[in-house]
């Protein structure tokens, strides 16, 4: 006679055995009572497929049609992809987005590394200063963008006029050549907070004894940074570069709030182009093709960055 706990043990063991086993017995998976693990993941799997994967597949599918977002459509083969490469607006959007993303990524990483080094030093008001430097991360990018829009459109020209600096009396937001600089400044202001915190976490992992040893060896601060600090936080440098680049390539809120993509289309990012022309412009299919290319580019760049930067980490 088996008592209660024994039979449960057997059940549990049998279940574990079933779980561990794969192969022919697995075919009966659906006929049997489904395992609790399967029930835990199934709803999520269905929802994720329906609301994430399915739209992606639809996007890819419609990129080979002439769909306008409604009504009838036909297959057009690679026509949209050919059109994309002949479209001046698309080149313009890629040009702005990459210029913006590269400059912002570099600036954000330099600035946040400097701030993190400062915050990691033996400073007074450490907690307060850290809290202040992190604050931009919690604010809505859109609203911060509106505030910076005011600073660039009204405040700076006003100040320039008072002190007689004629070159800055007109807002740079109105300049085709310089509007992107204003977007970069705002983006760096907002994004440096997150990267600073990451670098700070990296710096906290460094053993302080290493610095004592190096100062005994007569290394100066500059050598100390390049020979000890930087190699040790290299993994954090990698994450920061990849995350910052990926986020900046998707820039949307910043541009909407600061310039609306203007003047003309001077600061229209790829996301904004897909949004504007895809919805209101009736170019569902063309912009789907654009989004597919954009997707491939983001994946390639992220993988490329991780490869290159990790190789460097190993060398150091």
């Amino acid at each position: 006679m088996t008592n209660m706990s024994d039979s449960l043990t057997n059940n549990a063991q049998r279940q574990e055995r079933d779980n561990a086993r794969s192969g022919p017995r697995r075919a009966g998976w659906l006929k049997k009572k489904p395992s609790p693990y399967a029930l835990m993941v199934l709803p999520a799997l269905i929802l994720f497929f329906s609301f994430h994967t399915l739209p992606v597949l639809q996007g890819v599918f419609f990129s080979f049609t002439n769909y306008r977002g409604f009504g009838e459509w036909d297959f057009v083969g690679f026509q949209n992809y050919i059109n994309i490469f002949q479209d001046g607006r698309v080149y313009n959007a890629y040009g702005f987005t990459f210029q913006f993303a590269i400059v912002s990524t570099v600036l954000v990483n330099i600035i946040s590394l400097i701030i993190a080094l400062g915050l990691n030093a033996k400073i007074k008001f450490h907690k307060t200063l850290r809290a202040v430097y992190f604050m931009p991360n919690i604010l809505s990018i859109l609203i911060v963008g509106f505030i910076f829009n005011f600073i660039f459109a009204v405040f700076i020209p006003g100040i320039a006029e008072t002190i007689g600096l004629t070159s800055l009396t007109t807002s740079i937001l109105g300049s085709r050549d310089l509007a992107w600089v204003a977007v970069v400044i705002m983006a760096v202001w907002q994004a440096a907070a997150f990267n600073t915190i990451l670098y700070l976490a990296g710096l906290a992992t460094i053993d302080r004894d290493l610095y004592e040893a190096s100062s005994l060896d007569g290394a100066n601060k500059w050598q100390e940074f390049w020979k000890i600090t930087f190699p040790l936080i290299a993994p954090f440098f990698t994450i920061n570069m990849v995350l910052a680049m990926k986020n900046f390539l998707m820039v949307f809120d910043h541009v909407v709030a600061m310039t609306g993509g203007g003047p003309g289309r001077a600061t229209q990012s790829i996301s904004l182009l897909i949004y504007e022309d895809g919805f209101a412009g009736g170019q569902f299919a063309l912009q789907s093709a654009n989004a597919v290319i954009y997707f491939i580019i983001i994946v390639v760049i992220s993988v490329f960055q991780i490869r290159i930067l990790q190789k460097r980490e190993v060398q150091m």
Partner: protein
Amino acid sequence: MGRTRYNWPVTILLILGSVFILFPLYITVVNAFKTPAETADSILALPASFTFENFIRAIEMTNFFNALGNSFYVTIFTVIFTVLSNSLVAYAIARNMHRKRYKFLFYYFVSAMFVPFPIIMLPIVNQMSTIGLMNLNGLVLLYIVYGLAFNVFLYTGYIKTIPKELEEAAIVDGCSRWGVFWRIIFPILSPINATVAILTALWAWNDFLLPLVILGDRQDHTLPLVQYVFQSQFGTNYNLAFASYLMALLPMILLYLFLQRWIISGVTQGAIK
């Protein structure tokens, strides 16, 4: 070691730098209380008197409390259901990573982190409109589902470090797999639950693009969306605009003042995993 000697030059440089960080907020606060004439006189000066005129007008104009309620609704329900559901999914995956099916599922969810939203944006709007979910509940659903990509990654890393012995003992004592998760694992996950909750709250509260494409009805608009919609109507009445921005930013700033230690460590935990 004796008394700590502070590095004063660095402290002073950091204080000077923090002026740059606080400057946009300073402009927002002082001008929210000023009249247009005062702002025209000087943008930087403190207001002559603290009038709440701008706030009252902004509240009426933008239907502020409605938007505030919508933002709270979306954020609270997104956070609760994300923590409850994403942790459960990650638990099932983490405990079965040796099986192909679950390993595939893990990479399936996590690889979605590389998919830029614009490729989903156009089809999802058609889809949500077909099934009648162009509203706050639809928005909450999308946040919970899209959160899986990053949260499964975060949770599985943590769950793997929890020893299995505890669970097996409970199973032997007659506890079901579900009981094991809710009674034993979920409470142990508290630190990572907090991290996920904080990151999710920041995302849902501040997000602009998803509400912009999903929320059709004006009554459903969230705080950032309202600022966008009213931007043209504020026109050159910057004081009214600043009052509205300040009210939209304030809930998160207040939360940050009280919980900054947890928010900073939560975001850090999420990022270095």
